[in-house]
Subunit: 217 residues, 2 copies
Amino acid sequence: MKDKPVWQRQRRAAREAPPLTREKIVAEAVALLDEEGTAKLTMRRLAQRLDAGPTTLYWHVDTKDDVLDLALDAVFGEVVLPEPTGDWRADVRALVTGWRAAMLRHPWSAALVGRPMVGPNVLARTEFLYAALVRAGFTKAALATAAHGLANYVTGSALTLTTARSEDGLVAAEYLVEQWESYPTLVDNGHLREEDWDAVFAQGLESFMDGLESLRS
Amino acid sequence: MKDKPVWQRQRRAAREAPPLTREKIVAEAVALLDEEGTAKLTMRRLAQRLDAGPTTLYWHVDTKDDVLDLALDAVFGEVVLPEPTGDWRADVRALVTGWRAAMLRHPWSAALVGRPMVGPNVLARTEFLYAALVRAGFTKAALATAAHGLANYVTGSALTLTTARSEDGLVAAEYLVEQWESYPTLVDNGHLREEDWDAVFAQGLESFMDGLESLRS
DNA sequence: ACCTGAACACCGTTCAAGT
DNA sequence: ACCTGAACACCGTTCAAGT
């Protein structure tokens, strides 16, 4: 029986080296998004970076939206789950600060929040948030208010900040200044020209938690 | 001199009837988005609805993103600017409630907030918000905290709600229930299964404003 | 089980040309 | 001043076929 020609053996070896997995696809998608942003994420370009044919991805994933969902959940995987301390405000603060930091490291992520978030990493963090609030004495409507309010606050803050920092955002801020006559209060108070976003975030979080105190039972 | 043939005169008349304007384009875009959602908005389909060639829109608008920016600003145009009452909480509550309602009437709008919002309608509402807060005694960092926090709270709430109500959102909620063992607190407390979203929103808003009181000077 | 190429039905946008 | 059609350089996704 005749042996296979060299080329074929080389091809096989080369191909066996990196068997594509869903994990690799997601990791590469995150890298692509970090480097070039949402608009540049294409199934074809993603496949190219993985040395795969453009249609190969569809064996591991059903659709491009799947890739985005998985990438977003991967970002949440970076959020460390804090050790519960017994102080609900400390627990919430720790979680939510890490949550925001992860989104800021991946500026494309905040804008993806308009899709249902039921990935395991998201749910684990949300579970922690609920658990911390339950321990603090929030129940029923008050619990829903606190949990959704806090989650909305973090993601909203992250989205506002990444938008403001984007190229378009900086142009927009300059454009606003030119319109002092129409929007004096905005311009005089530096809307979109904030410098210390971290402090704004932290102060708002404390204020919100202050306001939630009276909802505990 | 020979008169023009009939067909030509008919064509002209027919064409002169609806001269395309940016306003008409935006109105039609909003209608299309309301009916079919963001994914279905296409320059070609939009043009078709306006009885125009696919490339005609580009005389009135530079890019598809322009259309989206204009459509989003149009939504904010529906938010009525309340009469200032002297009670800062009443003013903020009125503004922010109308703001949320407008976004809920156009469920696609919340997900568009990741672009810089410097349209005249957005800015007028934001100016009102800042002015109300300045009247209430917020300045500097406290003002930025209150303004951004409240804005993030509204848009975040609207986004969470429209996402939860979407087709994918309902599927996601069912999927979550199946995972009681992994996320007991979430499932037991009806995360994503909220019924009275209006109450959750209102209670969170009051809590936040409670917490902001101490920042006034 | 995993990967490929060809092909389908679309996209946004440009531009020379028309009226 | 406003509109058009043809054309370019892409898309996401399907599917029969390969190994």
